[in-house]
Symmetry: none
Subunit: 201 residues, 4 copies
DNA sequence: GATGAATGAGCATTCATTCAT
DNA sequence: AATGAATGAATGCTCATTCAT
């Protein structure tokens, strides 16, 4: 019973944390990390500003938590799309980043996070770890045997191709914030040419 | 004589504006748009905080002016590098972005600007115009006749390739802020493969 | 039975109040009245913050209760130490003020209380009443017949000597907070000279 | 001229600092260090809260400055009263501590400072240095040759007597906060007996 | 033109207190 | 009786902006 009670409390705490993170994310996307105020976030979350501090030590902790949550989303994304037509994926994802939840990171938020990482070492560390994981996974995928949905590239080549893919994906994220209405056909034409080349020896 | 006097005054004003912009840019790169204070900027510029307001209406105006100045620099850059080995250029520029002036925009500043464009329509417009110009120039270069240092691509193809190049360059800028010490050989291997492909029919 | 039940409840309430006061005193000594938070006190007392409000109307009431409890302790102390070598007592007590309970008030707490009395009339009143009692007891002791462990001073003289003793004791309390490692020999030399003089006609 | 200008500015800064310190001292005496808010102090000083931060880094710096100013006052006091009838001095000073300026430290403030020294090491250090200076000066006075207004005590004895005097003075300061209306005659009787004894071999 | 003192609104954060459970 | 989530007011502090000099 003690367990049940405590799990109820824990569940509530988990829900509150997420309520806060959702609100914060919304404000961060719309106003940026620094222009979004705690009062603002609390308002959006429908609670008092003071209450937020029961769940997060300070504003930085919220930012960090959002970064980590977003990175996990991205990481999950990678796992799911292993056997996929990557070019098509990239095109279809373009401009579809949900503001709040769902697969793929909001691109405005990625910009905000990247800019913040320039100054905040904790965020830089989180981002760095993510970068390594992502590139490692890409390289593994490219180097893996075809029977395993891999592409059978020699390891060294897989490394440089993984880097290129990463750069390409990030470049698309930036472009997404700047040209949400970009001509998809144009993009698809390009990606359908180039992506397959990156996966062949 | 009135003209001469006013042109002297104008020249002085121009110099002062640039002095402020240089200082602001330095602070923006190191601290970001919001953490850089006017007092800070004034200090770096070696003038009083109040004086800045004689040359710029407010902080936002400074940000916008910096964006515009940077975009002009970039635009000039494009014209100069037409006949160049692009892959080599990209590699050699990587991580060499000067903190203050020179060719190519400081990547931290680009992030800051891109993030800000998400919220400030004036900055978004400036950035958008620049994006179009850049992509247009790239497309023209790719579609241009070989005698003119062009690459002779069919116009439609040139469009999609220009987009890809733009995405690639922006992706590199982000990567630069995150991995300044990235293995150049790895990067060069990749770019030397892919960039030439983007320039051939 | 109703009486028994209610006395059980009263006993419990008394215990709870003391538990709270012990915790509060500890925090007050370490952090001062204002820096010690209710959450802090509740934590130290091993109970919830809300529960404290069942036993005390507010934080001020706790402070007042602590003052009163301390004064009662001191009052009891006086009765016990009538026949004593006062100089030796003062020296041996110096720096030995227990953090929590026991004879003599913690000197940091005395400071805190005295400072608070400057503003809070209730605390000032409690302290004043105590001061009068203490000085009265001292005067009585000094004026009392030697057969009763008194010192046989004429009443008027006893009054002024009692005042001096009180001043001396309070001065020692302040010094204790400032120089806990004070040279005891130095102190003893001084007190052994002066205290006996204060007890002789 | 530059010197004249800068000295004008410095003079103004000095005046502002004092204006702030006077206001702060008033609030600190009436409300205590922690209950006095910056807004409160600014109000009393007739300026905006923000302006205070041009002259003091933070609230602690104000407290420290007040402590140091008060200690200097006390120190000056000592120098002036070397040849004086100390008992009479102590009596006549009793209860005359001005709220704001003048000779002698406000006793409520001394309590506040002493209590704060318990927690703030910077204040403890300032107070400690003062204590040493004061006791040293007292000992020197007691040990000095009579021709120099000294009392010709042997050095070791002078030390313990100086300690006693210090304790006595501090005790009087506390008493002053608690019994501002204390019977002066009673006090004088006592001091006139005891103080001379402390100055004789 | 140039200064920097001054303001006032805004920010993150804390905490005594309340109240549904 | 007991909890601890929730509130709201207050606090120390920062900073873009103004303006008398």
């Amino acid at each position: 019973m003690a367990t049940e009670q405590s799990s109820k409390a824990e569940e509530r705490a988990r829900l509150q944390r997420n309520r806060i993170l959702d609100a914060a994310q919304q404000r961060f996307i719309e106003n940026g990390f620094h222009a979004a105020s705690m009062a603002n976030i609390a308002d959006t979350a429908g609670m008092s500003a003071g209450l937020i501090y029961r769940y997060f030590e300070n504003k930085s902790a919220i930012i960090l938590a959002i970064v980590q949550r977003q990175l996990e989303l991205l990481r999950d994304d990678i796992k799911l799309h292993r056997k996929v037509d990557l070019a098509a994926e990239l095109v279809s994802h373009y401009g579809h980043a949900c503001t709040t939840k769902g697969s793929g990171m909001n691109s405005a938020l990625l910009l905000e996070i990247s800019a913040e990482a320039t100054r905040d070492p904790q965020i830089a560390a989180a981002l760095d770890e993510f970068d390594r994981t992502l590139r490692g996974a890409l390289a593994e995928w490219l180097a893996g045997p075809r029977e395993n949905d891999g592409h059978g590239l020699p390891p060294a080549l897989a490394q440089s191709r993984a880097l290129l893919l990463q750069v390409l994906v990030e470049g698309l994220k930036i472009r997404e914030t700047r040209e949400p209405e970009l001509d998809r056909a144009l993009l698809e034409t390009g990606l359908r040419e180039i992506v397959p080349l990156l996966m062949k020896p």
